[in-house]
């Protein structure tokens, strides 16, 4: 266990930044190319979790706990958004029997 902790502490900050940016980009691409509302929603969660990881890494790097507190805020918010978001998706599913965002085309000029 000691060795693992030491090995983790040896990971340079740049690697965390790179990893988080990659995860974040996967989330962004997912939002842009997927057509299912639930999958889009999951991609958004991926973006938020990439930020969580990055904040934790920075927090340890700066030796400052406020970054980790912020992570809790983000988690609490993500939970609130899940509640509202899933309610909206369920409401749409009841009316249209589908969660595909392509059917959302009633509002156009």
């Amino acid at each position: 266990m000691e060795n693992v902790t030491q090995a983790i502490q040896g990971v340079p900050l740049n690697h965390y930044i790179l990893l988080c940016t990659i995860i974040f980009s996967i989330g962004v691409i997912g939002v842009l190319i997927r057509r299912n509302a639930i999958v889009i929603f999951m991609s958004v969660e991926l973006m938020l979790n990439a930020v969580n990881l990055l904040l934790t890494a920075f927090s340890v790097h700066h030796n400052d706990p406020s970054g980790q507190v912020f992570v809790f805020f983000i988690m609490a918010l993500a939970a609130a958004e899940v509640a509202v978001g899933l309610a909206i998706i369920v409401m749409i599913f009841r009316n249209t029997n589908s969660t595909d965002v392509n059917i959302l085309n009633k509002l156009k000029w």
Partner: protein
């Protein structure tokens, strides 16, 4: 900061009133509570504010001014909500409560002094608005607006958060003062992380205020949501978004003006053109107002592009003028739509003959939005352009004036159909509440337009 506590207690109180079926008490209690919150926030004017709650919030004059205008706009919107929510469903108390929760988020947004409060404020507001956009559960348009708003809002939150994380990584703090000190202490060696953080914050906030090229959700969401909620979104929420945007840039990023200025310049000119040119082609009055709100976001971005000591005041005047005029427009739209069932320009034909008062107030609102002299909108545009000119953004002002001329064209369209096109129609049924809101707002628009002095140099 008593206003924030008052509003939080009020929201829960209203929820309990709904539980005990005190339907007639809902509106009076909400309005009295809002008036109390307004008074409490104005009492803190010039009180030499220091950051409170461990440096989380700062209730300075800037925050007091924007809190007040947001509370006043909310009161006007709630006054016209009489009998509106009852048509949607039984749960009227919940709607009032959610609007109040959104207002609490707005208060946090305009008085933040720590990036975590910016995030929490924006989210309290947004999550409430996702619900409000979809309150017509069986109306497909409302469903679509709610889902679009929700997905786009959550998406933009991601960018905002990554921006905050990068700023934290570079400066080691979420506190606005600490970030500013970091920028000033390292004039040359600012980490590239910080620059990417600033860019991501611009993207995230542009989504929230609906500036091009991140505006595409705005027209759909504004059109699909219930009209009263659209009025709330396009006035109070937009004002708060700009206040937060301006506060962040004024406090933190002012020394990096050369870096972000070109980006915002392009965004603001693009917003103006997209908003105005697309608004020309609209047949629906509601959708036209949505595009006009995009173009007004472009004008308000001027104050941030030409950041200076006067920026706060010019955004305040512009946002107040715009909010009050929009409230009139949406109130008239609700009345007309209730009678004719349509929100096209044709449904306004011949309104002036049957309802001269309503037509007159709508004319004042349209002239104010177009920026004709002797209305508040002109004062707002004048202050915006003079801030930009003082920073020598001459081309930008020329482009903006071109846009103002395009704007006059589509705002006059509704005036023309009210006064010069005749149609067989019955008198639109108004109520004392509506008449009060329309008269008060029109009066305020003209008073500010004629005597701008008492609002134009507040801070």
């Amino acid at each position: 900061m008593n206003a924030l506590i008052t509003l939080s207690v009020l929201a829960i109180l209203v929820l309990y009133l709904g539980l005990y079926k005190a339907k007639n008490a809902l509106l009076p209690v909400t309005l009295i509570g809002l008036a109390a919150a307004l008074a409490l926030s104005i009492l803190e004017w010039n009180s030499g504010a220091a950051p409170i709650y461990s440096g989380m919030m700062l209730f300075d004059n800037f925050a007091v001014a924007f809190t007040s205008i947001c509370i006043i706009s909310t009161m006007l919107i709630l006054l016209i909500s009489k009998d509106y929510f009852e048509h949607i469903s039984e749960h009227v108390a919940e709607y009032y409560t959610i609007i109040l929760f959104a207002l609490i988020g707005i208060l946090v947004m305009v008085s933040f002094h720590n990036l975590s409060m910016l995030f929490i404020g924006i989210e309290i507001m947004s999550v409430s608005l996702y619900i409000l956009a979809g309150i017509r559960k069986h109306d497909f348009k409302s469903n679509e607006a709610a889902l679009k708003y929700f997905l786009m809002g959550a998406f933009s939150t991601g960018f905002l958060l990554l921006g905050i994380a990068f700023l934290y990584g570079a400066s080691g703090s979420f506190d606005l003062t600490a970030i500013k000190e970091y920028v000033i202490a390292n004039p040359t060696g600012i980490s590239p992380l910080f620059y990417s953080g600033v860019t991501l914050m611009i993207i995230g906030l542009s989504f929230k205020i609906g500036a091009a090229p991140f505006h595409f959700w705005t027209p759909d969401v504004y059109e699909g949501s219930p009209t009263l909620i659209t009025a709330f979104m396009s006035t109070v929420v937009k004002t708060a978004g700009f206040a937060a945007f301006l506060r962040l840039f004024m406090v933190c990023f002012a020394p990096l003006h050369d870096f972000w200025m070109p980006v915002l310049l392009v965004i603001s000119v693009l917003t103006l053109f997209i908003g105005n040119v697309t608004a020309l082609y609209q047949h629906s009055f509601k959708r036209m107002l949505a595009f006009s709100s995009i173009s007004h976001a472009g004008y308000m971005l001027f104050a941030i592009v030409a950041l200076g000591p006067l920026s706060g005041n010019s955004v305040f005047v512009y946002a107040s003028a715009y909010s009050i005029a929009s409230i009139i427009a949406f109130a008239v739209l609700i009345l007309v739509k209730r009678q004719t069932g349509s929100d096209n320009f044709e449904s306004f034909n011949g309104l002036a003959r049957k309802n001269p008062f309503i037509a007159f107030t709508l004319t004042v609102a349209m002239l104010s939005l177009a920026g004709i002299p002797l209305t508040a909108g002109f004062i707002g545009k004048f202050m915006m352009f003079s801030t930009a000119l003082s920073e020598y953004h001459i081309i930008m002002v020329v482009l903006a004036v071109v846009n103002a001329v395009i704007g006059i064209f589509y705002y006059l369209k509704v005036i023309v159909s009210m006064y010069f096109k005749s149609a067989e129609r019955n008198e639109v049924q108004s109520s004392p509440y509506f008449n009060f809101v329309l008269g008060f707002s029109a009066l305020l628009t003209i008073i500010v337009g004629v005597y701008p002095g008492f609002i134009s140099n507040l801070f």
